[in-house]
């Protein structure tokens, strides 16, 4: 067993992914498979074969939308959606160059908002996302429309006990 496979299985902490017999049911039901570099079952095979750099540097792990269709239909209960989470986190922790920069930028902006306010402050979160993703001009009309309808406001209620929220962020920083 390769070290990479062992590491991934330990982090999933469930059914070992070697149970996969490549029936490809996960890929058949995956709504994002057509957009992915490697199909979900191929990622499992690559982890089994120890192809760490290829897997952790792939766009597939970021394009997974966590719809959980794969794990629901897997005849061997392999938690593929959880595996994708594990691979994403490993990719960040190992400082890989991430091909889907905008997707990660959104996650970062989202978590920063929780860290600052305890809740999502849409205008600040979206402005932060745009800076991180260098995506300045998309969806401006949509944002304005929502603002005019009072759907997004920078003055929404915040969590009061921010010390507790900050403690959660601080103490979960390292896995």
């Amino acid at each position: 067993m390769t070290q990479f496979l062992q590491e991934v299985n330990d982090k999933i902490n469930g059914v070992p992914i070697q149970r996969c017999y490549h029936c490809r049911k996960c890929t058949a039901g995956c709504p994002l498979a057509t957009e992915m570099e490697y199909n979900p079952n191929k990622v499992i095979k690559m982890v089994q074969m120890g192809m760490k750099d290829e897997v952790l540097g792939s766009s597939t792990i970021w394009l997974c939308a966590s719809c959980e269709t794969c794990v629901t239909r897997c005849p061997n209960q392999v938690d593929i959606a959880r595996m994708m989470d594990v691979l994403r986190q490993m990719s960040i922790e190992k400082g890989m160059s991430i091909p889907q920069k905008k997707i990660l930028a959104l996650h970062r902006a989202f978590l920063t908002s929780i860290k600052m306010f305890g809740r999502i402050n849409e205008p600040i979160m979206l402005a932060h996302y745009k800076l991180l993703a260098k995506d300045y001009f998309s969806d401006l009309a949509m944002g304005l429309g929502m603002f005019l309808k009072g759907k997004i406001t920078p003055f929404g209620p915040k969590t009061k006990d921010m010390a507790a929220v900050r403690k959660i962020f601080k103490e979960t920083k390292h896995s």
Binding site: A65, V71, V86
Partner: protein, 282 residues
């Protein structure tokens, strides 16, 4: 009945008509809501995609806060619902993680909070017969498909909600309101979730497919129970294929003849009032 209420971030912002209609419908059906004290965000996709422990600890703080009231917790947002259920699942199965999370949150976790979506509360606790008896304006002429999406249902052993390949609770609620619910095969397909902002071009394709399939099924609107499904269908679907999308609580509010329902519909991106007024429902 009395339940704790976790609105979550979306219901205070992009999904405020969901919040308003959940509150109005709950009051009309005799469900008293007590908002959870000083709640924080569930962490959503961003947390579980990047930091597992954070994705459990954030909902754990809210779950612990809910334990002291001993009330079932109503969570209208399917994404928050899924994050709470998932955190409970991990905390139940991993004693070491639980100990660690208790230390991070600074309070003991008992695991007693019961997380419920309003579809479940209305269909199972209030009951379809009582719902039907309160209908003042049957939704005659309305032909919705019920769209459940992913996060209420999957994984089934975590969500324990409804049949995960062919759920029926929302269909039954719509039928009780007098709507002509259309069967379709896309009830549990994904809308693209949070890729809507970072990879909009992919989500446009997914939303267009859902809209096209709903129309092929003979629907004139889509009923949803998730702010993310709503946002992706309402904002991303192309002009040529789109039909109005309604939160299921808006449809209940209209059928019960509650005041102010038109104001909810005006907050949608796709024009949603004229279908209702053509059927003399608003």
């Amino acid at each position: 009945m009395k339940v704790a209420y976790y609105p979550g971030c979306s219901l205070h912002a992009t999904a405020k008509e969901y919040d308003q209609s959940v509150k109005a419908v709950s009051s009309a059906l005799g469900i008293e809501l007590k908002e959870l004290d000083d709640w924080a965000c569930c962490g959503a996709t961003a947390a579980h995609s990047t930091n597992f422990k954070l994705s459990v600890a954030l909902p754990a703080r809210d779950l612990i806060s809910a334990e002291k009231d001993g009330l079932d917790v109503m969570v209208p947002c399917a994404a928050c619902f899924n994050r709470f259920k998932s955190a409970q699942h991990h905390l139940k199965g991993d004693a070491e993680l639980r100990k660690e999370v208790e230390k991070v949150v600074g309070k003991p976790y008992k695991g007693t909070a019961v997380i419920r979506n309003p579809i479940d509360i209305i269909a199972n606790d209030i009951g379809l017969d009582i719902l039907k008896s309160k209908v003042r304006k049957p939704l005659a002429g309305l032909k919705p498909v019920a769209y459940y999406g992913c996060l209420l249902l999957r994984p089934p052993e975590v969500c324990t909600f409804d049949n995960y390949e062919n759920p029926v609770l929302l269909d039954k609620i719509m039928a009780a309101l007098g709507a002509d619910v259309k069967p379709w095969s896309y009830k549990t397909d994904c809308c693209g979730g949070s890729l809507s902002i970072s990879r909009a071009e992919i989500v446009i394709k997914m939303a267009d497919k859902l809209m096209t399939m709903a129309r092929e099924a003979g629907a004139n609107c889509i009923a949803v129970a998730c702010p993310l499904c709503m946002a992706n269908l309402d904002f991303r679907a192309s002009a040529g294929v789109r039909i109005p999308v309604y939160y299921f609580t808006e449809l209940i509010g209209i059928a019960l003849g509650l005041p102010g329902t038109k104001d909810w519909l005006k907050l949608h991106n796709i024009e949603s009032v004229s279908l209702m007024s053509s059927l003399s429902l608003v």
